[in-house]
C-alpha cells in the first residue's frame, strides 16, 4: 500500500512528463517475462559517484550475456529507506549499492539475499568480507574499504607522532592556530572519536573472534570511564572543542592552520595543494587506536526475479580488478579486492589509508547500533564542553542505551 503512494507519485510524474514531452520512460518494473536471455533486464541502484564505474562493468556484462542492465541513479541517503520499502512489493531493484552497516536492518526485514562468493572470498581483504558477514553468511559483494587515519601536513610536521600527547606537542611546536583538528560539533562525532576510545580499551560491543559483534554493550567499565575522563581533560585544555564542526576542521586544515587532522579520504579533495602523509591515529590511552572500517558493497534483493543474473553480474563481473579499480578512480576509497588494492596502493595516500585500515575493526552492523549512536555523540560532546561530569555522564549513557536496547 505504501508502494501505491510511491507508484501514484511516479505515475503522476510520468503523466506530467508524458503531457510535456509526449514520450516518457515507462515506470520501473514493467518488464515482461523474457522469452530469451536478451530480454532480461537487471536493475541496479547506484549513487552518483559509482554510476560511471558500474555502467562500464555493465557494458561488459551485457556483451557477454546479452541481458540488459538498467543503472538507476539515486541519492545515497534515499537508497536504504527506498530499498526497504520497495523490495517487499517486488518493485525494487535486483542489486543496490550500500554500506555494510545497513546489514542488520536489511536482514531483520528480510530484503537481502545471501551471496555465495565461493573461492572468490579469499581474493578480498578479510575485513571487507567479515563486515558483510552475519551468522556465517555473506550478504554483499564488497568493493571499497574506508576508514579514517591521521592526515599530516608534512610541511608543518615532518615526523609522524607516536602518541596523542606527542601529536599535541608537535602541533603546538608548529605554532599553528590549532595543535590538532578533530571534528566534534555539539552533537559529538563518535565515529571520528572511536579510535581514541579504542585506545582506552573500550569497544562499543563485545566482539567475537571472527570480528563480528554480539549485542552486548562493552562501552562501560574502566576503559570507558578513563576515556570519558580524558575527553574532559582534553576539552578543558582546549585541544578538543565542540565548536569544531566538519566544515570548520576541513577549512582550517586546508588553510594550513594545523599540522594534523583526523579524517578520511573524503576530505582529500579539499587538500589538493598540500603535501600530505597518512599515518596511524596516535594512541591516547596506550592501546592501539583502531578506527572503524566502513565497507561499501552491493546487495542482492531477496525478491529479485533475476537472482541468477544478479549474482552472475556481481561475482563474475564486479569482483574483477578492472571493475574495482574503476570504482576506486571514481570514489578514492581503497578497493576491497586485494589485487585491485595492490594496484591502487601505488598511490602513497591510498596505501596509507589501507595500512591503517588493515588494523581497523568493522563498524558494527547490529540493529542495536542505532540506539548507540543516539546517545553516544551527545554524551561525548557534553563531556568535552565541560557541561557534564565525565564518569557520571558516561555511566548514564551506558544505562540509557541499555534501556533503549532492552
Amino acid at each position: 500500500m505504501r508502494r501505491s503512494i510511491l507508484t501514484a507519485a511516479a505515475l503522476t510524474a510520468t503523466l506530467a512528463l508524458a503531457a510535456c514531452s509526449g514520450g516518457a520512460e515507462e515506470p520501473a518494473g514493467e518488464e515482461s517475462a523474457a522469452p530469451n536471455g536478451e530480454g532480461s533486464t537487471l536493475t541496479v541502484w547506484v549513487d552518483e559517484t559509482r554510476q560511471a564505474a558500474v555502467e562500464d562493468a555493465a557494458a561488459g556484462f551485457e556483451e557477454s550475456t546479452g541481458a540488459e542492465v538498467e543503472v538507476v541513479l539515486k541519492n545515497f541517503e534515499d537508497i536504504r529507506p527506498d530499498f526497504l520499502a520497495q523490495v517487499p512489493t517486488g518493485k525494487g531493484p535486483d542489486i543496490t549499492v550500500g554500506a555494510h552497516d545497513w546489514l542488520g536492518e536489511l536482514t531483520t526485514n528480510g530484503v537481502v539475499a545471501p551471496i555465495e562468493l565461493g573461492d572468490a572470498a579469499a581474493t578480498f581483504e578479510p575485513v571487507s568480507v567479515a563486515a558483510f558477514t552475519q551468522d556465517d553468511q555473506v550478504y554483499g559483494l564488497p568493493y571499497a574499504v574506508e576508514n579514517i587515519a591521521l592526515i599530516r601536513n608534512t610541511a608543518l610536521a615532518p615526523e609522524a607522532p607516536a602518541t596523542w600527547d606527542d601529536a599535541v606537542a608537535a602541533g603546538e611546536d608548529a605554532g599553528t592556530k590549532y595543535p590538532l583538528l578533530i571534528q566534534t560539533s555539539t552533537e559529538g562525532d563518535p565515529y571520528t572519536f572511536y579510535p581514541l576510545q579504542m585506545s582506552f580499551g573500550a569497544p562499543v560491543f563485545e566482539q567475537n573472534e571472527d570480528g563480528s559483534y554480539q549485542p552486548e554493550l562493552a562501552l562501560g567499565g574502566e576503559g570507558g570511564t578513563a576515556f570519558a575522563q580524558w575527553l574532559a581533560e582534553q576539552g578543558e585544555a582546549g585541544v578538543l572543542s565542540t565548536d569544531v564542526t566538519y566544515d570548520i576542521a576541513v577549512a582550517a586544515f586546508a588553510k594550513g592552520e594545523s599540522p594534523f587532522i583526523v579524517g578520511g579520504p573524503w576530505m582529500l579533495e579539499q587538500f589538493a595543494d598540500l603535501d600530505l602523509s597518512i599515518d596511524p591515529i596516535p594512541s591516547a590511552g596506550g592501546e592501539p587506536a583502531q578506527p572503524f572500517v566502513g565497507v561499501a558493497g552491493f546487495y542482492v534483493s531477496a525478491q529479485s526475479e533475476n537472482a541468477l543474473l544478479a549474482n552472475d553480474f556481481l561475482v563474475n563481473h564486479m569482483a574483477t580488478p578492472e571493475a574495482q579499480l574503476a570504482l576506486y578512480e571514481a570514489g578514492d576509497r581503497p578497493p576491497a579486492l586485494i589485487e585491485a588494492a595492490d594496484t591502487a596502493s601505488e598511490d602513497p595516500i591510498t596505501a596509507g589509508f589501507r595500512e591503517v585500515g588493515a588494523d581497523a575493526v568493522p563498524m558494527p552492523s547490529l540493529p542495536e547500533m542505532g540506539a548507540v549512536w543516539a546517545y553516544w555523540g551527545v554524551t561525548e560532546a557534553a563531556i568535552v564542553s565541560g557541561k557534564s561530569d565525565p564518569a557520571k555522564a558516561w555511566d548514564k549513557m551506558v544505562s540509557d542505551i541499555q534501556g533503549e536496547i532492552g
Binding site: K91, Y375, S388
Partner: protein
C-alpha cells in the same frame, strides 16, 4: 431548433465551446488511459481501479446535463481524494498495524527470507563447476566432482554418477538422459534454477546442491524448515518448533522469536505504547508545553511584526516604500530549510557570524543553552515568518473600505480610536483564518527544528534522545525511530501523527468558531 438549445455547456450542439470541451476531455481521457495501461503493466490494481473510476466519473460529469455543480468541483474533489483523504486514511490504517523494522513485509516473504538466511554452505565443501540440465520438464544439476566424476540429479533424485558425459574445460556439455540448457534458457527459468535444491544423497542431513549463478554449485544444509500445515518453523538441529503468533512472528514455546516477522493488524497496541512508556512521561509534558508555546509565540510575534511593518510601509508619507517592501519580503523568498541551516551556522558559538562579528567575539551558546536555544528558534522563526504576515496585512489594509474610515473621521474619532475600533477588527476578519492556519503549520514545523537545533540541547535528566527544543512532531520522528536512533516503527509513528492531527484539528475547529464572532462585530 430553438435558439436557447445551443447555449450552455451541457448542450450537445457543435458550438466552439463544445468542441473545446471535447478536445480537453479527449486529452484527459488519453492521459487516463495511458495511466491505466501503465498501472496494468506495473500490476498496481488499486491505482488501476481508481483511475478507471475517475475517468468514468469525469466523462459522465462533463457530458451529462444533470451534473452542473460537479463540473466545477470535480477536479478539486479528485485531487482532494488522492492527496488528502487517501493519505489520511492510509496513515489511519498503518496506525493499527505493526509495520516497521522486523515487520516490513508479508508472511510469505518472511518465511522465504528466514529459510534462505538459515541455509549454510557446508564447511569445507568443494565448489563444483555446474551445468543446468533438464529431464523433460524437470530441472536438474550436473556437476563435476573434485575427483573428476560427473554426477547429476534433480530435486527428487539425489546426485548420482552418470557415465558417458561430455566434459569441456571442466564443465559438463552433454549428458545422456538429460538435455543441457543454453544460458538463455537458464535465464528464462532463473527463478526455478535458484530455487532448485538437488540432494547430495538419500540422507537429507547431507545437504543439497544449489547455485546462485548457474555456473558453480555448492553444498548447503538448511537449519530451518517450514511446515505449512501447522504454520510453524522447525529448527532441524535443535528440534525447536516456532509457531506463528498474533504479533506477526514465529515464536517458540520459551518465548524466543525468529528475527524476521511480517505485518499484521495489532489493534490499539500502538496507541497504548505511545502513552505507556514511562521513559517518555517526563519529556512528553515539557515538549507538549513547548510545542504550544512555540506555535503560539511564533504566530503572535510574526503577526505583530508583520502588522507593524505593514502599517508603517502603508503610510503614504514614506518615501521608497516599494524598495522597503521588496527588502522585507526577501526572507520569505529563501527556502525554509536552507534558511534554518544558514542560521545554525550563523549562531555557532565560536565561529558563527553573530558571535564573532556582531558581538565582537562573545562566546554566547545560542544553540546549546536550553533557554537561549528556545529564543534562537523563536527568533529565526520570526525572521522566517514575518514577511508572510507583512504580505497579508498589507493586502488587508489596502482593501479596507475607505468610506467606513471617512465616516469615523467625520464622527470625530481619533487615530487610535479609528485603528482600534475599525481597522483592527476589519483586519482580523481577513487575517484570522490565516493566523489559525499559521498556528497549525508552526505546531508541526518540523523543518525548522530539525535543521536548526535538531531538537537539542538534550534533556540532561531524561533517558531518551529528546531535547529542549523538540516539538511533538520531531519527538514522533525520534520515538518511532525514523531518525535511525531506534528500530523504525511506522505503526507507532502513524498512531502518534493521528494524535497530533486530532489536537491540531480540535484547536483549529474551536478557533474558526471564534472567528465567526469577529465577523459579527464587523
Amino acid at each position: 431548433m430553438s435558439l436557447p438549445a445551443t447555449r450552455g455547456s451541457g448542450r450537445t450542439g457543435w458550438s466552439p465551446g463544445f468542441l473545446v470541451k471535447l478536445v480537453l476531455i479527449a486529452l484527459v481521457d488519453a492521459l487516463g488511459v495511458y495511466a491505466v495501461l501503465a498501472a496494468w503493466g506495473a500490476e498496481s490494481w488499486g491505482i488501476l481501479a481508481a483511475m478507471v473510476a475517475l475517468l468514468l466519473v469525469a466523462n459522465w460529469a462533463y457530458f451529462s446535463k444533470r451534473a452542473l455543480p460537479l463540473k466545477y468541483i470535480l477536479p478539486g474533489l479528485a485531487f482532494l481524494l488522492v492527496y488528502q483523504v487517501y493519505v489520511v486514511a492510509y496513515t489511519g490504517y498503518v496506525a493499527f498495524t505493526n509495520y516497521g523494522d522486523g515487520h516490513n513485509s508479508t508472511k510469505e516473504q518472511a518465511v522465504e527470507a528466514l529459510l534462505v538466511q538459515n541455509e549454510r554452505r557446508v564447511e569445507g565443501s568443494p565448489s563444483s563447476p555446474l551445468t543446468v540440465v533438464a529431464d523433460g520438464d524437470t530441472l536438474g544439476f550436473a556437476i563435476v566432482s573434485p575427483e573428476g566424476v560427473v554426477e547429476a540429479g534433480t530435486a527428487e533424485r539425489p546426485l548420482a554418477a552418470v557415465d558417458g558425459a561430455a566434459v569441456e574445460a571442466g564443465r559438463v556439455t552433454g549428458l545422456p538422459g538429460y538435455e543441457v540448457l543454453e544460458y538463455a534458457e537458464v535465464l528464462e527459468r532463473q527463478q526455478e534454477v535458484t530455487d532448485l535444491r538437488v540432494p547430495v544423497s538419500e540422507d537429507p542431513n547431507d545437504g543439497s546442491i544449489r547455485t546462485q549463478d548457474a555456473r558453480t554449485g555448492y553444498v548447503f544444509t538448511s537449519t530451518l524448515t517450514y511446515d505449512p500445515v501447522s504454520d510453524a518453523m522447525i529448527n532441524t538441529t535443535t528440534g525447536v518448533t516456532y509457531t506463528a503468533n498474533d504479533d506477526g512472528q514465529f515464536e517458540a514455546a520459551d518465548g524466543t522469536t525468529l528475527p524476521v516477522g511480517w505485518r499484521v493488524l495489532v489493534g490499539l497496541d500502538n496507541f497504548v505504547t505511545a502513552f505507556g512508556d514511562d521513559r517518555y512521561a517526563g519529556p512528553f509534558g515539557k515538549i507538549l508545553v513547548w510545542t504550544f508555546a512555540f506555535a503560539a509565540v511564533s504566530v503572535a510575534s510574526t503577526f505583530l511584526l508583520g502588522l507593524f511593518l505593514a502599517i508603517a510601509f502603508n503610510d503614504a508619507r514614506l518615501r521608497g516604500r516599494r524598495v522597503y517592501r521588496t527588502l522585507v519580503i526577501l526572507p520569505y523568498a529563501i527556502p525554509g530549510f536552507l534558511a534554518a541551516l544558514l542560521w545554525s551556522g550563523l549562531l555557532n558559538r565560536s565561529y558563527g557570524f553573530v558571535n564573532e562579528v556582531l558581538l565582537g567575539g562573545a562566546q554566547i551558546p545560542w544553540l546549546t543553552d536550553p533557554v537561549l536555544a528556545k529564543l534562537a528558534v523563536l527568533g529565526v522563526n520570526l525572521w522566517l515568518g514575518f514577511p508572510y504576515m507583512f504580505l497579508i496585512c498589507t493586502g488587508a489594509l489596502q482593501s479596507l473600505p475607505t468610506d467606513v474610515l471617512e465616516a469615523a473621521k467625520i464622527d470625530g474619532a481619533g487615530r487610535w480610536r479609528t485603528w482600534r475600533s475599525i481597522t483592527l477588527p476589519l483586519l482580523l476578519v481577513a487575517t484570522a483564518p490565516l493566523l489559525i492556519s499559521s498556528f497549525a503549520f508552526n505546531f508541526n514545523n518540523f523543518t525548522l527544528i530539525y535543521m536548526l537545533t535538531g531538537g537539542g540541547p538534550r534533556f540532561d535528566d531524561a533517558s531518551v534522545p529528546l531535547g529542549h527544543t523538540d516539538i511533538l512532531i520531531s519527538m514522533v520522528y525520534s520515538v518511532s525511530g525514523l531518525d535511525g536512533t531506534a528500530a523504525k516503527d511506522y505503526g507507532l509513528a502513524s498512531a502518534l501523527s493521528i494524535v497530533i492531527f486530532v489536537v491540531v484539528a480540535t484547536i483549529s475547529a474551536l478557533a474558526f468558531r471564534r472567528t465567526r464572532s469577529l465577523e459579527e462585530i464587523a
